[in-house]
Structure formats: C-alpha cells, structure tokens
C-alpha cells in the first residue's frame, strides 16, 4: 500500500513538474512571441497545462470546462480573428517608451516577489497540509448543486453577463457594417 501510494505520489510529482514547466514556458511564449498567431497557439498549450493542474487539484469538472470552452471555443474564436486580420495583426513588440517598459517589468517582478513572500510566510502553517476531501469533490453533481443552490444568483448573473456579451459583440459588428455602407 505504502509503495503503491509512493508510486502514485511520484507519478503525480512527475505530471506536476511537466505541467508546470509547460505552463510557465507557454506563458512566457504568449508574451514574447512577435506573431499573435503563435502567441495564441502558445496560449492553447498554456490552457491545456492548466487543465492538467486542475485535475491534480481534483477539479475534474473545471478541467473539462477549461478544455472544452476555453481551449476549444474561445481560442478558436481568437484564431479566426487573427486569421481574419492577417498581416495587420503583426504589431511592434514593445512600447515606444523605454522607461515605461522597464518600470512595467520591475513592477511585475516586485508584485511577484511580494506574492511569493506572502505564500512563503504561510507555507509552514496555513498552507502546509490540505484538508481531506470527500468522494464527490469537484464533481459536476456537486458543482451543479452549488450553482443551482447557494450560488443561484451568481449563476443567473453569469448567464446575463454572457447574454450581454453576446449582444455587445453583435452590436459592435452591426454598427461597423452600417458605417461601411454609409461610406
């Protein structure tokens, strides 16, 4: 039993390390690639590795949603738009102002350092061991119960947000088209 669980632990570690590396690498790639098309592809990888991490965190349903909705639908939309824009999508890599660029990077590093510091301060006690989880943790059933129970309002508001987003997208397209006709 101990061996089996040890083997499982090692397996999980391996998966985690791979996923983490993929996550960070693809993240950097998104930011650093010059071509938005490549960046988008990197983001898909990023989202995929995130889904793996979600699985490791016993969030099966979210992982599935991540892959289907995000990596699937949303990213496809991205790619379509990038393809539609074609060459115009290419943009200069960096800001015109060097000072802003440096300040931006420094700020991000400081922010990172601060957050890591906070996590480190808590790593010993608060974050040292996770709570025990039950069988159904992260299952669609439980999430469904939560969504339609305690968080019904949030659920409804989310749907409303989606609806408004969709309407907004349509309107943005429509006004532009009319503008073109007038031209």
């Amino acid at each position: 039993m101990i061996l089996a669980s040890l083997a499982g632990d090692v397996l999980v570690w391996v998966v985690w390390v791979v996923a983490a590396i993929a996550l960070l690498a693809s993240g950097f790639a998104v930011v650093l690639f010059r071509n938005p098309f490549h960046s988008a592809l990197a983001l898909i990888l990023n989202l995929g590795s995130l889904a793996v991490l979600y699985l490791l965190l016993s969030a099966e349903f979210v992982a599935a949603a991540q892959v289907l909705v995000y990596a699937g639908a949303v990213m496809v939309m991205f790619l379509f738009v990038i393809a539609y824009l074609g060459g115009r999508a290419d943009a200069p890599w960096a800001s015109s102002q060097a000072a802003v660029r440096v300040a931006a990077v420094v700020t991000c590093v400081v922010l990172l350092a601060e957050v890591v510091l906070v996590i480190a301060l808590d790593a010993r006690d608060g974050l040292s061991s996770a709570a025990e989880i039950t069988e159904g943790f992260g299952s669609p059933r439980e999430l469904g119960r939560l969504f339609l129970g305690d968080n019904l309002l949030a659920f409804e508001v989310s749907s409303l947000v989606l609806l408004i987003g969709a309407v907004g997208g349509v309107i943005l397209g429509a006004t532009v088209r009319r503008g073109e006709v007038e031209e």
Binding site: F61, L112, S158
Partner: protein, 102 residues
C-alpha cells in the same frame, strides 16, 4: 494530497499572473494584450482552484467557472472591438489610441 502542496500551485499562479501583467504592460498589439489578460485571469483561476482544494470547498471552483464566463465575454467584446478597429482602418497599436488624453 498527492504531489506538491497547494503553496506550489500558488507560486505557479503568481508567476503566471506576473507574466500576464508584464505582457499587458509592455505589448502594443491589442491582440496580444488580450491574450496576456487571459493569462492573468487563468492565473487567478488557478489560485481559486488551489484554495478550493486547500479548504475542501467547491465554492472556489464555482467562482472559477464564473471567472471563465467573464473571460469568455471579455474575449467576445475585446475581439469585437479589435475587428471594429480594423474595419475603421484604425492602426492596431495600443499606443496609438490616445483619445483619453486629458
């Protein structure tokens, strides 16, 4: 819990967030800014799910799903704006948009 502690996930999340933030702050292409924003949102999601695991509370996952909804909506609107800009023959450069100047 198998594998690394939640703290490790949180560090990952922090790095990812910082990367995304840097992307937003230094890239000029609105498309890449949008992508970098997605990175930041996902970093947040990762932290949420990590905490959900930490406290054995599915509420965090619900929250993450809600964030996804917001992200998807944002992408729709953001891409719509970009397409509109392109149709209006506006240069696709964030620094070119200085209408808000005071």
């Amino acid at each position: 819990m198998l594998g690394p502690t939640v703290a490790a996930y949180l560090v990952l999340s922090a790095i990812l967030f910082a990367t995304g933030a840097a992307g937003v702050l230094i890239r000029r292409s609105p498309l890449i800014v949008l992508l970098a924003l997605e990175l930041m949102l996902n970093a947040g999601n990762l932290a949420l799910i990590a905490f959900a695991r930490q406290h054995a509370d599915s509420g965090g996952q619900v929250f993450a799903l809600a964030v996804m909804v917001v992200a998807a909506t944002e992408v729709v609107v953001g891409l719509g704006l970009i397409v509109a800009m392109s149709r209006k023959k506006v240069e696709l450069d964030v620094d070119a948009l200085t209408e808000l100047e005071g």
